[in-house]
Amino acid sequence: MHISDGVLSFQVIATGWIIALILNAIILWRCKSRHDMAEEIPKISIMTGAFFVASLVHVSIGPTSVHLLLTGLLGVVLGIMAFPAMLVGLTLQAFLFQHGGITTIGINNVMMGIPALLAYLIFRYGYRKGINASVLGIICGALGVILSGIFLALMLITTGEEFTEIAYAIVVAHIPVMIIEGIITGSVVTFILKVRPELLPLDREV
């Protein structure tokens, strides 16, 4: 569901790159100062690989099929590292499959990375407040999708008012995906909590 080359205006693309580069730089710098990068790099890479593969799965609903975004789940599992992970994933997707585009890697990174970060914050906050993790998973999964959809719509409208109707349609089209990802994310979180709880950012420092 990333946006391809040639659609968005110069201003939107440029803003996207600027935000993406700044955020990535801050996050990586922060990570370098707190963790051993030798340990973090293989970790992020392999997890990104796992998400990359999982997002190639198509779920058929009626006559069409949707492929998964997994923004919310990525945030819940990787924490703030979800943002650079998304950059790597999107770059590979553009390079290997020509999904999305090359000029839009920055804006796509923002569009999917920020919902991932929000999902992470909500998950952590909610868990500390004692909300059931599976419910939180459902919320974060659903939120990740719909926020990405709304961001996408906003960017289209910013590019030109020609896109208004299409933007609305895109948000509506995201609703089934939102439900699907909510259920999947809820079940992944429940599973991980049972089998390998230390993988979730329950009380991990950022």
Binding site: T190, F191, K194, V195, R196
Partner: protein
């Protein structure tokens, strides 16, 4: 005899063009235990994918108890053939052991009570009663292998297909697993088809052996296969150590037509032969002994000479 599995003119190529199977034809009868051997990349795993319906439209004819596998309903198919893959981690994806073992029966549409009965039965078959609540991922490797087997046994298949059942197991778990599988064959009458590299364990698990190397290269009893050293050489195989040793004893004048393949059989054969020859056997060096021995060594140790 009832034909459990019948395959004719089966071909398969992966999407990248790798030809994995060529003109495979074989028949396995009900109650048999068959082992498929062949080098790495011979197509054993690919062949097994045809038996469980993963490959949906086989280029060739694959029949299970007379029915084409592509025409069978899923529920029927999994009741006929159960496949246990090599890596148990690939097969355990549910939170608890119970859920994993119940997965197949639930997909078969059985009712709750029946599902539970099956899970208990399958777990007790593999010796893991009381493990229902455990998290599969935290078990030892050998235990995971058993759970993976139980998860297939719970569907009560008539044919059990196992890919490398003994790999990575410690010697005790290996021995346990081998006796578990032969029990399933001998006591419960399940037809077993096994792919493996472990030639020392093979004789216990095989009435009949197929050598696969893209095509079916040979078929026969373990003894036939292991006696044909050029076949072994061409297909990167070896004979069991016990068998090779008796070949050498033969050179020293021990004469017996049925050379044993495993330790247990060796003890039996030795006892029988010695009793049969009025209580003793002579081993001695005669004129040709050395030549014969080096011939045996050369034939069977072919792999060792390659790189030196």
């Amino acid at each position: 005899m009832v034909e459990a599995i019948k395959v004719e003119d089966l071909n398969y190529s992966y999407s990248d063009g790798t030809k994995a199977l060529e003109d495979i034809g074989l028949t396995i009868y009900e109650g048999e235990k068959v082992v498929v051997v062949g080098p790495n990349g011979a197509g054993k795993t690919t062949f097994f994918l045809h038996l469980n319906g993963t490959i949906k439209n086989p280029q060739g004819d694959v029949r299970v108890f007379g029915k084409r596998i592509s025409d069978m309903k899923i529920e029927d198919r999994i009741h006929q053939v159960g496949v246990v893959f090599q890596d148990p981690d690939d097969q355990l994806f549910m939170p608890t052991v119970f859920d994993d073992v119940a997965f197949g029966p639930i997909n078969m549409g059985l009712d709750e009570e029946e599902v539970e009965k099956r899970v208990n039965k399958a777990l007790s078959k593999v010796g893991l009663e009381g493990f229902e609540k455990k998290v599969s991922h935290n078990l030892s490797y050998g235990q995971k292998k058993r759970v993976a087997l139980a998860a297939v046994l719970s569907m009560e298949p008539k044919v059990l297909v196992l890919d490398e059942p003994t790999a990575n197991l410690d010697p005790k778990s290996r021995a346990d697993f081998i006796s578990l599988i032969s029990d399933l064959n001998e006591r419960d009458g399940i037809t077993t088809i096994i792919a493996m590299h472990d030639v020392n364990a093979l004789p216990t698990l095989a009435d009949r052996v197929y050598v696969l190397n893209k095509r079916i290269v040979a078929e026969g009893s373990p003894r036939d296969i292991f006696s044909d050293w050029s076949l072994l050489k061409d297909n990167s195989l070896e004979a069991p150590d016990v068998f090779k040793l008796f070949k050498v004893l033969n050179c020293f004048g021990y004469s017996s037509d049925d050379l044993p393949l495993s330790f247990d059989e060796a003890v039996e054969v030795l006892t029988r032969t010695i009793e049969g020859t009025e209580g003793h056997i002579h081993l001695h060096i005669h004129e040709h002994t050395h030549k014969e021995i080096s011939h045996v060594m050369d034939s069977y140790n072919h792999h060792r000479n390659g790189k030196k």
